[in-house]
């Protein structure tokens, strides 16, 4: 599952960050391989932002070690920054400049050799499908286009790792999907490692591996498929005319069953394929059937004890508003 499967490009060992008495990040360790898309998933205040900031050299670890692209973040911050691309939650473009001028500014600050700048500009704009907007002012861009331009800019200096902090925050679903196409394509074409934080479950699905972080600790770390498999099989809920009889019959047949409000819940390997057999085994008329396959929401709930939507419910609207307010 792990794309690239090469050497580690990010190595994190016992990383800790304290603010006074409060421990925001509590001794986490993990590796990210070259070419991997790695997602950090967690509720607000779980330590996501603090961690990504330390990896990007924007915050100092209290303890522990981090190497990015072979450089220690504490000892060689500039070397690390030269090898990473950053896209923040809030926009950091100069809207009074054109797309090309924004990219050129970045190229100079990140020391792209003068002779290569024009070629790189053409290349990164092509990657995010903005070639035809090269000479347009950023103030004329939509929110989604501006975001894609920021990704293009982060790729100007050929970084080995691209850090995306909540990259699709405030974008409409269609634009989000487009942006993901971009991210996956550029991973395909340039083999860049992508490290992102998100609170959208459907986005985390795109990742090769997901780390779920809660209270400053990594509570689970695996591929989306493995994470879902680990919390259990599919469930089928049957509503019948006589639930007690159905449960008894199913248990006799060797199924793992529990009584729930309105019927029987059966745990099976593959819910959809088991439906016919279950109806027959139940032996009483079945009124309704509901098949449930574990989602990342269930995984998240399992490991953190709460739904990600409620965990984020308060924080997100405010931030989305700020983003939109800034755009227009």
């Amino acid at each position: 599952m792990v794309a690239g499967g090469g050497a580690s490009v990010i190595e994190v060992r016992e990383l800790t960050r304290r603010f006074g008495q409060f421990t925001a990040v509590d001794g986490i360790s993990f590796d990210v391989s070259e070419g991997e898309v790695f997602a950090f998933l967690g509720p607000n205040g779980a330590g996501k932002s603090t961690t990504i900031n330390m990896l990007c050299t924007l915050a100092h670890p209290t303890a522990g070690q981090v190497t990015v692209a072979g450089f220690d973040v504490a000892a060689r911050p500039k070397a690390v920054r030269r090898n990473i691309g950053l896209v923040f939650q809030d926009q950091t473009l100069d809207e009074q400049l054109t797309a090309q001028e924004n990219l050129r500014f970045h190229a100079v600050l990140y020391r792209v050799p003068s002779g290569e700048v024009d070629e790189r500009i053409a290349r990164v704009l092509e990657l995010v499908d903005l070639s035809d907007r090269r000479y347009d002012l950023v103030s004329e861009f939509s929110g989604g286009m501006a975001r894609r331009l920021e990704i293009a800019r982060a790729l100007m200096h050929v970084p080995r790792v691209l850090f995306l902090d909540e990259p699709t925050l405030g974008l409409d679903p269609q634009t989000r999907a487009l942006m993901w196409e971009d991210v996956l394509r550029l991973r395909e074409e340039s083999n860049v490692t992508v490290f992102l934080t998100t609170h959208y479950m459907d986005e985390a699905e795109y990742a090769d591996r997901i780390a779920i972080i809660d209270h400053g600790r990594i509570v689970a770390l695996d591929t989306p498929v493995a994470l879902k498999a680990a919390i259990g099989a599919d469930t089928v809920e049957l509503g019948t005319t006589d639930d007690a009889a159905a449960i008894a019959a199913l248990e006799r047949a060797g199924y793992r069953v529990e009584a729930v409000a309105g019927g029987a819940r059966v745990f099976v390997e593959n819910g959809e394929n088991a439906v016919a057999a279950l109806i027959e085994t139940a032996g009483v008329p079945v009124l309704n059937v509901h098949v449930h396959r574990p989602t990342l929401d269930d995984v998240f709930l399992h490991y953190t004890g709460r739904e990600i939507r409620e965990a984020h419910a308060e924080a997100i609207p405010a931030r989305v508003r700020a983003w939109h307010g800034r755009r227009r």
């Binding site: 990007c56 924007l58 450089f71 060689r76 911050p77 500039k78 070397a79 920054r81 030269r82 090898n83 950053l86 923040f88 809030d90 926009q91 950091t92 473009l93 100069d94 809207e95 009074q96 400049l97 001028e101 050129r104 500014f105 970045h106 100079v108 600050l109 990140y110 020391r111 792209v112 050799p113 003068s114 290569e116 070629e119 790189r120 290349r123 200096h157 050929v158 074409e189 340039s190 083999n191 800034r326």
Partner: protein, 286 residues
């Protein structure tokens, strides 16, 4: 890997190369020029205030002060108004960092693997160029006021404007790095910029002020920037001795009349201090 090969200098982690830092400074400078050129309304609105001062105050005061040997108050004010235009634009440009912060672009600069000094110097150079340009545009008003221009005088004016612009843009950068919010900007303008301009000799002669005001004018860096500008402009005019006496252009300090060289040296020292403060402020900004 289908992308272009890693540029070698990026891959290797060498930390500071002077040529790259100079390139960074140049790029930050260029951005200021592009933005200046692109916001024509700002250039125009930057002209309105000084023109208002020149026309309203100049004509009003000329009636009061009268004409001495063919020389009136408008001509006295003209170099001061140019200086006012330069200083206002310079401080605004330096403080545009507050806007950069508000719109996020400051972060793009601060996280770059470059020295903060290069960024501060580029911002100062860019703002100073813009401010000097804005002041030089004022020269189109010279014929209206009756101020005679020569090629040498124009070059002298541009040089002096650049010097004061560098000092005041650096000052603006320094102040901006200590301001977190937009509200602070207004306060600084009210508390610093206007008193500095009023106590610089830009708008009236400084020689017959009460003692405490005299002290304030002499610790004001702008005083030493305005005087040379007026001196070079006056030197190019056909001014009778009576007019020179009526409209003094020099600054006295501890009973001595300062030479233009001394005044320029004082401004250079202030510029150096402000640039150092600007770099320090920028380096500490998060």
């Amino acid at each position: 890997m289908s992308s272009a090969p890693l540029p070698s200098k990026i891959a290797d982690g060498s930390d500071t190369v002077l040529r790259d830092e100079v390139r960074t400074t140049g790029m930050v400078w260029l951005r200021e020029l592009i933005r200046f050129e692109r916001t024509r309304t700002r250039i125009l609105s930057g002209l309105i205030q000084p023109v208002l001062f020149l026309v309203v105050m100049g004509y009003g005061m000329s009636g009061l002060v009268g004409t001495t040997a063919g020389f009136d108050f408008k001509k006295f004010m003209f170099p001061g108004i140019m200086a006012m235009s330069v200083v206002t634009t310079a401080i605004f440009s330096g403080m545009s960092i507050v806007w950069d912060r508000e719109f996020g672009f400051l972060r793009e600069m601060l996280v770059a693997p470059t020295s903060r000094a290069s960024l501060a110097l580029g911002k100062t150079a860019g703002g100073a160029s813009v401010a000097a340009a804005q002041g030089t545009i004022m020269l189109v008003l010279a014929p209206l006021i009756g101020v005679h221009l020569t090629a040498v005088l124009v070059l002298e004016i541009i040089g002096l404007e650049l010097l004061m612009a560098i000092a005041m843009t650096a000052f603006g950068v320094f102040v901006a790095t200590h301001i977190e919010r937009m509200e602070g900007f207004q306060v600084v303008m009210q508390m610093l910029l206007f008193p500095m301009i009023f106590l610089s000799g830009a708008l009236f002669p400084l020689n017959s002020l009460p003692g405490w005001l005299t002290v304030l004018t002499r610790i004001n860096p702008l005083t030493y920037a305005v005087a040379p500008l007026r001196q070079v402009v006056f030197a190019a005019q056909n001014m009778p001795a009576a007019a020179r006496h009526r409209f003094p252009a020099t600054v006295e300090l501890f009973g001595h009349t300062l030479s233009i060289g001394t005044e320029i040296a004082i401004v250079v020292v202030f510029a150096g201090i402000f640039i150092a403060l600007a770099i320090r402020g920028f380096s500490r900004t998060e």
